[in-house]
Point group: C2
Chain length 257, copies 2
C-alpha cells in the first residue's frame, strides 16, 4: 500500500503545476484562501498551508490585504568569472555587464582598518600592531539602476600606501580593476582563486540588494596572487535569482601536472 499524499500537498501540487504550465502567469493573483476552500473543498488551514508551501518554494509572494501573486522572474544574467586566453578578470562585473548591454554602476566606501582574522590569515599579515594594515572598500554594484551585487575588498596597505592607487576608486586609475591598478605599481597579479558558496541571504544583505527576505544568495571569496603573495581578498555576495556564474577553461594535456 502506498501512503496517500497529504491533502495540503495535493493542493499545492496542483497550484505549482498550474503555475509551471502558465495557467497562472507571472504577476497574476493566485486564488485566495476562501476561493481555495471552495474550489478544492478543503478547510481554511489546508488552504493556508498549501499556499505556504508555494510561497516557501519562492514561486509566489503574499501581499497582505491584496492577495498572493506569482513572482515575476527577472531574466538571469551570466557573470563570466574566468575564461581561457582572454584578459577579463580585472573587472569581471563591469566587463560582463557591458558585454550584455547593461548599464553597470557602483557606489563605494573606502576605509583604512585593521584586518579581521580571516583576512589577516589570507593576506599573511604579521601580528596586529594596533595600526590600520589594510584598506577595506565596500561596494554596492547596480545593474540598470537596481542593486545586484555587494563586495567587500581588502588590500594590504604596505603595498599601496603612498601610491596613487591606494584608494581603488580614486586617482588616475579609478575603476580599472585590481589587476590593472596593481600593475601600475609593479605588482603583477598572476593567479586568482574563487570559492563559491550559496545560502539564504541575511536581513542586511537582502535589504541592500533589494530582494525579499530569505532570498538565496551566492557568495564568492576571491583572492589574487602576485608572485606567490596574496595581494587582494574580496568577499562578494549576489542574488542567485539574478545571476549565474560562468567558469571555463582548457583541459590540461595528459602529461601535465
Amino acid at each position: 500500500m502506498e501512503s496517500e499524499r497529504p491533502l495540503y500537498a495535493r493542493v499545492s501540487d496542483d497550484l505549482r503545476s498550474k503555475i509551471r504550465v502558465g495557467a497562472y502567469p507571472p504577476g497574476t493573483r493566485l486564488p485566495s484562501r476562501p476561493e481555495i476552500r471552495d474550489e478544492y473543498g478543503v478547510s481554511d488551514a489546508v488552504a493556508k498551508q498549501a499556499i505556504g508551501v508555494i510561497i516557501a518554494e519562492g514561486l509566489a509572494q503574499a501581499r497582505p490585504g491584496s492577495g498572493t501573486y506569482v513572482v515575476e522572474r527577472p531574466p538571469v544574467r551570466k557573470l563570466v568569472r574566468a575564461w581561457y586566453g582572454r584578459r577579463g578578470l580585472g573587472s569581471p562585473f563591469r566587463a560582463s555587464m557591458a558585454e550584455q548591454g547593461h548599464r553597470g554602476a557602483w557606489a563605494y566606501e573606502s576605509e583604512r582598518v585593521q584586518a579581521p582574522p580571516d583576512v589577516r590569515e589570507r593576506l599573511a599579515l604579521p601580528e596586529p600592531t594596533g595600526q590600520p594594515e589594510v584598506l577595506r572598500t565596500d561596494y554596492v554594484f547596480t545593474t540598470d539602476d537596481r542593486p545586484s551585487m555587494l563586495s567587500t575588498s581588502y588590500e594590504p596597505l604596505d603595498l599601496t600606501e603612498g601610491t596613487d592607487i591606494v584608494i581603488p576608486e580614486e586617482g588616475p586609475h579609478a575603476g580599472r580593476g585590481v589587476v590593472d591598478r596593481m600593475a601600475t605599481i609593479g605588482v603583477v597579479i598572476d593567479r586568482w582563486d574563487e570559492t563559491v558558496g550559496a545560502r539564504a541571504g541575511s536581513a542586511e544583505e537582502c535589504r541592500l540588494l533589494d530582494i525579499p527576505l530569505g532570498s538565496v544568495v551566492m557568495t564568492i571569496t576571491r583572492t589574487y596572487e602576485a608572485a606567490g603573495r596574496t595581494v587582494e581578498v574580496a568577499f562578494i555576495v549576489l542574488s542567485a535569482d539574478l545571476f549565474v556564474l560562468g567558469y571555463a577553461g582548457e583541459v590540461p594535456r595528459d602529461g601535465a601536472g
Copy 2:
C-alpha cells in the same frame, strides 16, 4: 510605537538564539510542543509554528514520535572544480573527496533516450528522429555514506554507441571520468565550461539528498568540448550546506587574447 513581533516569532527567536549560543547543542532534542506550550505559555498552534520556522531555517529536523533535534552541521567541504596546471577535471568529485580523506561512492542508472530540448541544443544534435540519440546517466553520489550530490549527464550516442565506453560506469573504463573515457575512443576533450547557480532545492532533490525541504542547493551545468564539439553535458545539484566550489587559474599576461 513599534509594532510587536508575532508570538510565534518571539518563540522561534528564542529557540534560535539558544541554538546559536549552544544551549541546545547539535544533536540534542528541542522542547516538545507540549513543553513549549507550558514554558512559553502559548497555544499548541503557536508552538508548532515556532518549531516550523526553526525547521524551515534548517536548524533542526523533526522525527515523528521522537522529537525535534538540532541538526549536526557537517563541516563544509571544498569541491575543487578547476585549477591550473594539473589534471583533475576527469572526475572532480572522486578526486576531491579522496584528497580530503573522505569515502566517495556513487550509484547510477543509464538509459538510452531522446534528448530534451536544452540538451539537444547544447550538443548540437540534428532534428529528432524518434530514435534515442543520447545516453542519459543519473548519478547519486555519496560522501561517507551520506548522499551529497546529484548529477544527470548526457552523451551523444553517435560518438559512443558500439564502443566499450557507451555505458559510463560499465566496461573496462568504468569510473574513470568523462575525459579519460572519451580519450580511449580518440575523443580528446580540450575545453570545459561550468555555469554555477543557486536556488532552493525542489522536494525531489531534497529527498534524494536527504536534506530539509527548502534547503539551498547549488547547480552546475557543465559541458565538455572536444575540437569545438560539445561531447558531454551534465546537470549537477549539490547541497550548499555541505559544499563550496573552488575555481582557480592563471591571470593571462597583458598582451594575450
